[in-house]
Structures are given as C-alpha cells and as structure tokens.
C-alpha cells in the first residue's frame, strides 16, 4: 500500500497516521530491522528507513550519534533496502541526497521499487534540484516527499506540494531533529498554510516525542512523524532485545496519542 492510502485510511478511522523513523544499522542492521518491525507492531502506520550519512547537517546530537555508530559498523544504502523489504508496512527511505546521487538515481529508484518501498523523503533535495529524481520516481511509481518549513513562502509551499506525492512533510520548527519539551506553535500555522495549497496529506515532523505531543499534533495534521524518541529507546537500552521492546512500547504510547487528539480542530 502507498503511504497516501495508509494515511487516508487512518483519516477514515478518525485519527492521524503515525510515522516512525529509525536509521538502519543502529545498533546493528538486524536490531534496527527488528526495531522497525516492532514499531509497526506497536502501531506505527508508515516507516521511515533512514540511511546514515557522514555529514548529517539536519540532525541533532542524538541521531548523529546513532548514525555515526551505524556507519562505524559498516552500514550501506543496500542495508536500507533490506530493511524496506522486511518491514510489514509502507516504507519510505529517508536520505541525504548525496547517497542517492552516488548510488545512481535511476538505479536507486528501480532497487527501491523492487524492494517494495513506497518512495523516498529527501530532506536536502529541494524541488528545484529534483528533476532527475522526479523522473525516476515516476518511472517506478514511487512517492516523492518534499519538505516545507515555517519560512516557506506561499510560492514555495505550492512548489513543494506540486512536487510531492504520498504526503507533504511539514518540518514544524526551525532547527534540527530532536525531541522538544513543547510542540512548536509554528506547526499548526504551517499545516494550515500547506492545506490551503494542496489536497495531499500533511504530516508534521521535528520535535514530537510523547503521546501527549502526538495527540496535540494529531488534532491538526494528517500524520505525526517521530524519530528521536525511537532512537533514544534503542540507545538507552542495556541490550538489543530490550531496545526493540522499548521501541514497541514507545510506538504504543504514540499510537494511543494519535487516536485521542487533544484540543479543538480548527
């Protein structure tokens, strides 16, 4: 199933979708894949498979530490495709663009589709630079998810929405990945502005880490994207098995959150 169909199914159930990110290869490939499967068992609807990169300039310290460890363990983009193949949910690869550039854009799209992947999220590939990716994604029916930010002008929101398929990723605050104490107040405004220019589902990422925050975001967004909270669960665990169990528990809390949105929908 595509990411969009899954998110729209959630909407029919009267809730927001839950999208979970983990980088492949942390603490090792097998554990990361098991954790992604546990995420789905715990209630994650769509999985973001992160490809670790040496210069993750959009990630905060927590994900940096995890991806540095994954790279030290020798993880490669091919391991990301393995993870895509093994999770029992729509899976999107989340990657810095130079890795795909090196892999070969057409080959990446073909291999991702062959692995059963839904598409890719490209945080440092703005639509202006994405012609080759758009063509390759189209050839293989893949989702192409671009990001919008609080600083995006109406023109750029429109460009990102027109360039995206699957959903639109609203990076809800100015900053890098990582949990925050409070959900950014800019998130709701950004989603509203995006909704004015697109029918695509709009999902919110950056800074969401608890069930309460998920409930808050679920009141105005079609999907809630969580990364660092899952990574922390793996990182803080004394051993891989309890890490995987902790990931599932985090997913359950968040899944409950997206099912009882708090606040009044605008």
């Amino acid at each position: 199933m595509s990411a969009r169909a899954t998110i729209e199914q959630a909407r029919r159930e009267g809730r927001a979708a839950l999208i979970g990110y983990l980088p492949v290869g942390f603490p090792d490939v097998a554990t990361s894949v098991a954790a992604m499967r546990a995420m789905v068992a715990g209630g994650v609807d769509v999985v973001e498979v992160g490809l670790p990169y040496s210069d993750p300039l959009m990630d905060g310290p927590l994900i940096q530490r995890a991806t540095e460890a994954a790279l030290a363990g020798g993880v490669t983009p091919a391991d990301g495709l393995t993870a895509v193949r093994e999770v029992a949910a729509p899976a999107l690869v989340m990657t810095y663009w130079t890795l795909v550039d090196r892999y070969g854009v057409a080959r990446f799209a073909a291999d991702l589709a062959a692995a059963g992947g839904a598409g890719a999220i490209t945080p440092d590939l703005i639509p202006d630079e994405a012609a080759a990716w758009h063509a390759a994604a189209d050839d293989h029916g893949l989702d192409r998810v671009h990001l919008v930010a609080p600083t995006s002008t109406p023109e750029r929101l429109t460009l990102a929405a027109r360039s995206s398929r699957g959903f639109l990723y609203a990076a809800s605050l100015m900053g890098v990945t990582g949990e925050r104490d409070v959900v950014s107040t800019t998130a709701k405004d950004l989603v509203a502005r995006a909704k004015e220019v697109t029918d695509l589902p709009v999902c919110v990422g950056l800074g969401v880490g608890t069930g309460t925050q998920a409930a808050e975001v679920a009141a105005f967004a079609d999907g809630v994207i969580v990364g660092s909270a899952f990574v922390r669960a793996l990182m803080d665990a004394p051993d891989p098995a309890s890490g995987v169990a902790a990931v599932e528990a985090v997913a359950r809390e968040l899944a409950a959150g997206v099912r009882k949105p708090s606040g009044v929908e605008a």
Partner: protein, 409 residues
C-alpha cells in the same frame, strides 16, 4: 594553451551552476534565507554607498591594496623565473580571509541581522569574522573542530580576545567539515537574526559566487600591479586550494586572459596515492557536500572521507564548485602538493626572503617552484601568498625539530 576552447567571458559566471557543479542541496528551511542573501549581495555590489564603505574599510582598516613583493632569492630555487608574491599575508589579521569577512559582515548589517556565525579550520576565517564583528558591533560565534583547536591554539585565543564565542566541534572527524555541519545546524535554528558567514567559495548558492565577489579584489589588484611591474601579464598564477576562496579571488581577474595559466595547488597530505590527502579535484569524485555539487573525497557509497593535511586550512574534503568547473573545462589546472614539499617551500621562503608564510600558502609556493623550473628565466609566476605563518610556528617547530637543543643552526 588552456581555455582557448571556451569563448564566452568566464568572468561573467554568477551561478547557481557552474557547468554541472554548484546548486543548492539544502533544507527547505534555508531557502528563504538564501534568497534574501542572494538579493542583498547583488544589491550591495551595485550600491555605490555599500561599495564605498567597503572600499574605505579596505584602505583604512584592512590595508589594501596589498603589495607585490618580488622574491629573487627564492626564485633561484625556481628555475630563475621571476616570482612575484601577492602579499595577502600583510592584510590586517594576516590572511585574505578578511576581504570576505568584511564584505559579508557589512552585508549582515544591511540585512538587519545582529549575529554572525562562521566555521573555521586554520582559524584565519574565524579570526577575520571575529574581527569584522568586533568592528561592526555584531555578535560572533565560531565553530571549530576540536582537532583544529589543538593545532591552531593561537587563533583560538585571538578569536576569544576579539569577543567571539568559539565552540569546539566534537562530531565526525572534528575538523573543518564538521565545523561547517555544526554551523549549518546553528543557522537553520537561528536564521531569523543570524547570518552564516561562510569563509570559503563553497556552500549553497549564492555563497560560492558571493565569496568570490568579495575576494576578486586580490586578482584585480595583482593584475594591475604585475602589468605595472613587469610590463606584461604573468605566465602562471599559483594559489593553494582547500575550499578555494583565495585561489578564485586571484584567478578571477585572469579568467579571460587565455595566455595566463592558472594553477591550483591542493593539499596532497601524505601523497594522493596513500589516500591520506585533501586533494578533492585530483583525488575525489563527483558528489554533494555542504549544499553544492562538486568534487568530494568520498567512499564507494557516497560517505565523505576524512581529509588529511599538515595544513588545517586546506584540510577539507570538498572544493568550491567554480574550481570543479574550471578543472572540467581545462581553464585551470589542479595538482597536489604533499606535506613534505609544502614544508620545504615554507622553510625556503623563510630563509631566502624573510617571510614566514602560512602552511596553506606554502603549497602555492611549492607549486611556483615547479612552474618556475618549467618556465625558466623568462617566466613570470604570480603566487598568492594568502596568509602569514605565525599561527603555524608550533607545527613548524615540531616538523623541523626546532625546539630541541642545538637545532636550527
């Protein structure tokens, strides 16, 4: 002769692409700031008031124009060719970096921002940024790899004396590239009041073009000065290339003089064949780093590899996109100079001319020795002496064993 196949004026190129290089590979959150910057610097360059202010700062504060020094005793080791040194080392703060820092700091005021951040490797760009910020009343934060902080301690102290906050970067290889990652993270978080004062002719558009615009004064002065001194243009212009700001600064005025060969000297470290080097054009592959497509030292999967050089300022695994393009079209040649050759040229300039160069610039001097030998006594080689070597005396002392009893005689 290089460059004859290219007919359109090369000096007119302003990005965002240089052939297949350059562009903007950055988060959407930064697009608005890059658009604002693009408009602001273009306006500034055509604003007589802005340019007059910058020119005044150049003359009364930086010490421009920097002089040309002929190096006849050094030249004896370079085939007898005339060796002309463009003395960017004599600028205030001791390197070419101040040209760009002053321009961008003025631009920061123009944009109504109050805080500048910068990355630094050798510390020269950090010192230049801290200096410009102190002069113009801006807050300054400089990100510097932990490894570089150790090898360029003097510059860390200088930045702190100038009132800048120096933040050690402990991620990745703990050098220049990681400092740049950390600065980008700061920028995306604080973009509303903060300008990222990139020091190299790299990064997302418009940085490569804007940094070149603020550095091209080097070549404009040098071209006039060499004509006045020698009655003709030089045969070769040599400059060291890390990210490549001093090189593009001196090359730019000569781009459309096809008879002038442009030679960029990259940091060869232990030798390109050892894999321990920082020569992105000579030993890298096409990739994306810090927002632009260029030559990058990367592994088979696209992961950036650590660069190695005795010179912190050249220890960067990418290169400005305009250099990548000049290499591709054959207008400039790029070749590596290993640590040993650079240190030999460093020592030679000290002893023959009484000038202690930055180790970065010593790579250009090593290139000039080779070019001079090739050209012989009729040749003229212009070298961008991009910085002074005070910051490098510890490294040099260790390299040459100068702190041991009875050494240096």
């Amino acid at each position: 002769m290089h460059g004859q196949a290219v007919r359109t004026p090369l000096t007119g190129r302003t990005g965002p692409y240089f052939g297949g290089f350059g562009g903007r590979f950055i988060p959407e959150a930064l697009v608005a700031a890059l658009e604002e910057l693009d408009a602001a610097y273009r306006d500034a360059l055509s604003d007589p008031d802005f340019m007059a202010r910058l020119d005044e700062l150049h003359r009364t504060y930086v010490g421009r124009p920097s002089v040309i020094t002929e190096a006849p005793r050094f030249a004896r080791h370079a085939g007898g060719a005339r060796i002309l040194l463009k003395r960017e080392d004599l600028n205030h703060t001791g390197a070419h970096k101040i040209n760009n820092a002053m321009g961008q700091a003025l631009l920061t005021l123009q944009m109504g921002k109050t805080r500048v951040i910068a990355e630094t490797g050798a510390g020269q760009h950090g010192v230049a940024t801290a200096t410009a910020a102190a002069l113009l009343g801006l807050d300054a934060v400089v990100y510097m790899g932990e490894v570089d902080m150790r090898r360029q301690e003097l510059n860390v102290v200088r930045m702190r004396l100038l009132g800048a906050e120096v933040i050690p970067v402990t991620s990745g290889s703990r050098t220049l590239k990681d400092a740049m990652n950390e600065a980008m993270r700061d920028w995306v978080t604080n973009v509303e009041n903060t300008h990222y004062l990139i020091g190299s002719a790299a990064g997302p558009h418009p940085f490569p073009t804007m940094v070149r615009a603020f550095q091209q004064v080097i070549g404009e002065e040098a071209r006039r000065q060499v004509l006045a001194l020698a009655g003709r243009l030089p045969d070769v212009v040599c400059a060291c290339v890390g990210g490549g700001s001093n090189a593009i600064g001196i090359f730019h005025a000569f781009l459309d003089d096809p008879e002038v060969e442009l030679v960029g000297l990259e940091a060869g470290g232990d030798g390109v064949e050892t894999g321990r080097h920082a020569a992105s054009v000579s030993g890298g592959a096409l990739g994306i780093l810090h927002g632009n497509r260029t030559y990058v030292l990367q592994d088979a999967h696209g992961q950036t590899m650590e660069s190695h050089s005795i010179s912190a300022g050249l220890d960067y695994p990418g290169v400005g996109p305009q250099h990548a393009w000049l290499h591709d079209i054959g207008r400039a040649r790029y070749r590596p100079v290993d640590d040993a050759a650079a240190m030999e040229a460093f020592a030679l300039l000290c002893r023959t001319e009484g000038i202690i160069p930055a180790i970065e610039s010593a790579h250009a001097l090593a290139g000039a020795i080779q070019e001079g030998r090739r050209l012989g006594p009729d040749g003229i080689v212009l070298v961008n002496l991009s910085g002074r070597g005070d910051k490098d005396v510890d490294t040099a002392a260790r390299y040459f064993g100068l702190l041991e009893e009875g050494s240096g005689s």
